[in-house]
Amino acid sequence: MLPVAERHDSSGPLPSDVGVKSPMKVLNGRWKSVAELGGSALASISTTAILFAVTGWDSTFAIFVLSLMLFLMIYSVVCFVEHGALEAKSKIATVAIWLLALAGATPLVAIIFYVIANGLPVVAGHFPHFLTNSMVQAADGTAPISKAGVGAAILGTFEQVGLTALLAIPLSVVCAIFFVESKSRYANIIRMVVDAMTGTPSIVAGLFIYEIWVLPRGTSGKMGLAGSLALFVIMLPIVTRTTEEMISIVPGSIKEAALALGAPKWKVMLLVILPTAKAGIVTAAILGIARSVGETAPVLFTAGGSNFYNLNPFHGVQDDLPLRMYQAIFSHGSNADAEAWGTGFVLMSLVLALFVIARFVGAGKQGSPRKIRMLIARTRKSKETANVAPAS
């Protein structure tokens, strides 16, 4: 007799486990698959190598494409011979999916490594100054890089994005509450508008704030606050949407329990639902902040960019990290590229730090229901084994 826990697994198979242990694969064995894959790869690469050695072609791209095509052809032939048409199709599809995903992941890894490889030496080589200097002495990228620095830009980013967060996050949360609470047609229309506005082209946000804020104020119109307002247009729909999702996954039973105890709706929302969804909302907010830290187009015509430190976001042009990088990219001095990579590295570090923080905060949210489910499963199992133990 099988142990009960195995025979009666209450949690059931995990979705991703289904099909992994298809009987065919088990029968054929893992090593056979490895041999088929490896053999085909080896055959294709060596054929390509011989071909290129004979003809004298040289193009990395052509070598890559040709060996890939050869690999797929050889592998399909092998599979057809060994497994028949149906299974062969499935195997080829599996390989194709892995290869495509690999191709998609390569640029990401490449970008991160490229930024680190080019940016880290700049930041580390000029460690304190690069993070504290302003660009006063190195505005066009011709001055030595020891004079350059992104201090003013870091300050500007913090102030602008901070202001944006201050404006956008509370409003987003209230909007999200509106969408969850109200079933009216009106709420539905606004939800659709917000949905559509999550894809607002960032340059349009910049244009809008330029027209409504910067232009009427003439030469003194560009300021940190204008940049924040443009970022606000981008951030509001994004945070609203994610917050709404976070609020709507709060179990209805909790809400109903509170309502049944006679609490008014607003108290239920503020004292029960929002605290329950807290981790999720904070994650949504941090991800929204991370997104707007990296936005360049909205601040292009609004914050202005500056080589000087400007502490006051409400007066005068202000720099920020994406703008600094943008200006470095379009400068022609010999050090401009290094400055751009250094700035890019600082920007990426900031965004990644926010991302990691959001993950940590979000982990609590994902963890708790999971933990509860595991706990329930465990107690159920132990009860069953306890019941069965004397009998067996």
């Binding site: 979705p15 991703s16 486990d17 289904v18 099909g19 298809s22 791209f61 149906l86 199709k89 499935s90 999916i97 892995w98 995903a101 998609g104 990401l108 490449a110 970008i111 930024v115 409003l171 909007c175 509450i177 509106f178 969850v180 609470e181 109200s182 229309i189 606004i190 659709m192 508008v193 559509a196 506005m197 999550t198 894809g199 082209p201 960032s202 340059i203 349009v204 244009l207 809008f208 247009v233 729909p237 709404e244 999702e245 709507s248 996954i249 709060v250 008014p264 607003w266 929302m269 639902i273 991800l287 830290v293 990296g294 936005e295 360049t296 187009a297 990219i329 890019g344 920007l347 990644l352």
Partner: protein, 342 residues
Amino acid sequence: MPLAVDPNAVPMRAMPGLPIIGPEGWVAPTDVPRIVDPGERLSDRNFRWGIGAAGTIVLVLLALIVAYLFSASSWTIGHHLGEFFTSINWAPPVHYGILPLLLGSLAIALLAEVIAIPVSVAFSLLINEYAPIKLKRRLVTLVDLMATIPSIVYGFWGLTAFSTYFYGTSIWLTKHAGFVPIFRTPEPDTYGNSIFICGIVVGVMIVPIVTSISREVMAQTPREICEASLALGGTKWAMVTDVILPYAKNGIVGGALLGFGRALGETMAVLVILSSAPKVTPALLGPAGLGAIPQQIGEFFTSVPNHEKSALILAGLTLFTVTLTVNFVARRMVGQPKARTA
């Protein structure tokens, strides 16, 4: 007077609308339903109006954006509306035809889709079906991470690293596949800074959004049907093609459309990479060809005279309208956010 009721009498069932009449002419009092609902509390009503007002701000914002862009582009609407959407000449201050820019934006977005759709579907299938569970979480993180990388970083990577790498390939493509117009260059023997490179880089950028949508939709496929397909002896690929893909079809198309909207509006990467004439040409592999709306605005808006500014703003408004429409259709296809429990 005590009411004389025969205990054995069959109780009269109350007909709706008819009074119950007992012995001796006794009439039962009409049953008026007790009011259980005390009505909305004042505090709740304030709450409802408050959150409604906050929601209205979004509508106001949208209206303001449209109104301001509209009024700022009034000069172009008044003088050049006829040629704006039909002329293939973008040559201020004489001609204001948006087609070289609009077609460029469309070309970038289409190329981006060609890259992004297969990769995203592969990613979604890998995450949902193929990858071992440990790798699955890593992959989700990876895709999320891709979404947070600033677009200007993508752009600079595209300009420096990817362009250099793609240079040889461009030449190779022009030489060997030049019979297809899109693999030609607008100017002879100039490569790089092209619509093609923009399309590929933007394609990489929209992979996360398309993946996250199509993955969510695929994950909603009823597990029983997938298992039934396997139980009937189908291979995993058969399960994917016969169960998951048909089920998630709308979601995948919707996700791709969302990505399309994103790609149309993508500014910084295109602004950094592309250099355009701009003119209408089918050749995509070199500079001095098609432009792109966001790139044109970002590059020239601050430095051009007021009339051209208004034309650029009208271009921006066009872009805004198009992306809003695309997003709207896309969200409809993907469906409302699921499981509204509250």
